[in-house]
Symmetry: C2
């Protein structure tokens, strides 16, 4: 199989792709949208993209794409522990504290916000497309006083010095990655849970009817483990809801709840019923 | 009164501060957190910060601050129509299409994402602290092939050429700004609505109890106009909810609902009951 992931080499998605599918072929994509485009067009068998971080919340690019486009179902979810580390070119190890710029993905910068504000209040924070790009840039620009925030394996891959490990504010940081595919995945690990993810749009975008819609699950004792809203991008105050339910596929009560929501005027898009795995 | 806003001169917050409080003194702050810190410490009388954009959704920095800190109540909300425009230094008007870098606030870049992808697929998008900073940078660096995405009044203020007006993807774009203050504000305009905003944390962070909590409003015919979740930043899967209700202050039914939520184990923080105004 060909596994597409949010590249380049050295990103968290790269790490998940290699841990979850070590024997398969891997293809890096520059953006989340391009990776999702590729699996929708059957150019790859599986698309692995980040979906939610414990600190920064949902990855809006992924959620908005899933709402707006037709994609293969989610077949599995992987939870990866996250550490963000500050690293420098080895030729700059002695004067790294004089750095004037620090590069990372916006979520890397956000996760290290408290550390930077306290220790480097005047450093220029520059957002780039990935943590791996930041590490690669620092490795190829020894002449610049620039640091990168990236995972530890990026330091190994690009031969950089880690000058501050675990610079992220929150020690329990984790990120969820989803695997979308038209194929059932044969996974031998033990899952930690099973769930169904759906997107719900209310009739007339009336948040007041949300309670009625949620009643269709509550009456049937279907537990909801997550609910969040996102703007539909049409006008202020119009939302859709991203809901996780603690049930798997082929659940008769869930089927009945879906029919009832439809009768009540709601629109449901099921993204998949799947197992969740923890990456150590 | 002294009105603090998210600066520098020329931001959307600046525009709201001057339209809503034309006769008062205005103080610019570099970040949303500093502006909120200042009103919490009574250094300013009113703090005006962005809270939600129609396309990008809630301004998470603002919401997270309100969840984590004690602040004066929200006294009013202002809705401002948003246009994003591409502008260039007047010395570069002839060769602006050769620009290699475009600067804006991350939301400015996100709102013009489709236009840039179509027309400038290879331009380097650089996130800076505000649209006004982007405009100021372009005005002071005529030697660089750099564009800015900013509101029209920033082009006037920094004497730049607007080369593409309304480059944002969505024509109905608007942003909500909230005014926090310990003082009641004397506003003569007619409000378009009245609402109460609260933050709800469920007992044991169990999303399954959300339905029960929302029932306390539904049974009393208190309409909910918005609900969204945000991670509590403690660990993956723990959220608080930001809820808007279509009721004003001194509502006996609302008081009863709050008591009941507390008895059910929920924690509620009321951010304020206030009127909403539209800025033309």
């Amino acid at each position: 199989m060909n596994i597409g992931y949010l590249g380049p080499v050295g990103t968290f998605s790269y790490q998940v792709a290699h841990r979850a599918f070590p024997e398969e072929q891997h293809t890096a994509y520059t953006t989340i949208s391009e990776c999702l485009d590729a699996v929708a067009a059957n150019e790859i068998d599986v698309c692995l993209v980040p979906f939610e971080n414990a600190i920064e919340g949902t990855v809006n690019v992924t959620l908005d794409y899933l709402y707006q486009n037709d994609v293969p179902p989610i077949q599995a979810e992987y939870i990866l522990p996250i550490s963000q580390n500050i690293m420098v070119n080895k030729q700059r190890s002695s004067d790294w504290q004089e750095a004037t710029t620090i590069l990372s993905h916006p979520q890397g910068l956000a996760q290290c916000h408290d550390y930077l504000t306290k220790n480097f209040p005047h450093i220029k924070r520059e957002a780039v497309s990935s943590t791996a790009f930041a590490a690669e840039y620092v490795s190829t620009h020894p002449d610049e006083k620039t640091l990168a925030i990236a995972p530890l394996f990026a330091a190994e891959h690009y031969d950089l010095d880690v000058v501050r490990a675990n610079a992220q504010g929150n020690m329990h940081n984790e990120t969820r990655f989803i695997a979308l595919s038209n194929r059932k995945l044969a996974i031998t690990d033990d899952p930690i849970e099973t769930k169904t993810t759906l997107l719900l749009k209310l009739p007339d975008n009336d948040s007041g009817t949300l309670h009625t819609m949620l009643s269709t699950f509550a009456w049937r004792n279907i537990n909801m483990s997550k609910i969040e809203s996102r703007p539909t991008k049409t006008r202020l105050g119009q939302y859709f809801f991203h809901i996780d339910l603690d049930v798997g596929a082929d659940n008769r009560l869930l089927d009945n709840a879906m029919v009832e929501i439809s009768l009540l005027g709601g629109t449901v898009k099921v993204l998949g019923s799947y197992d969740v795995y923890k990456i150590k």
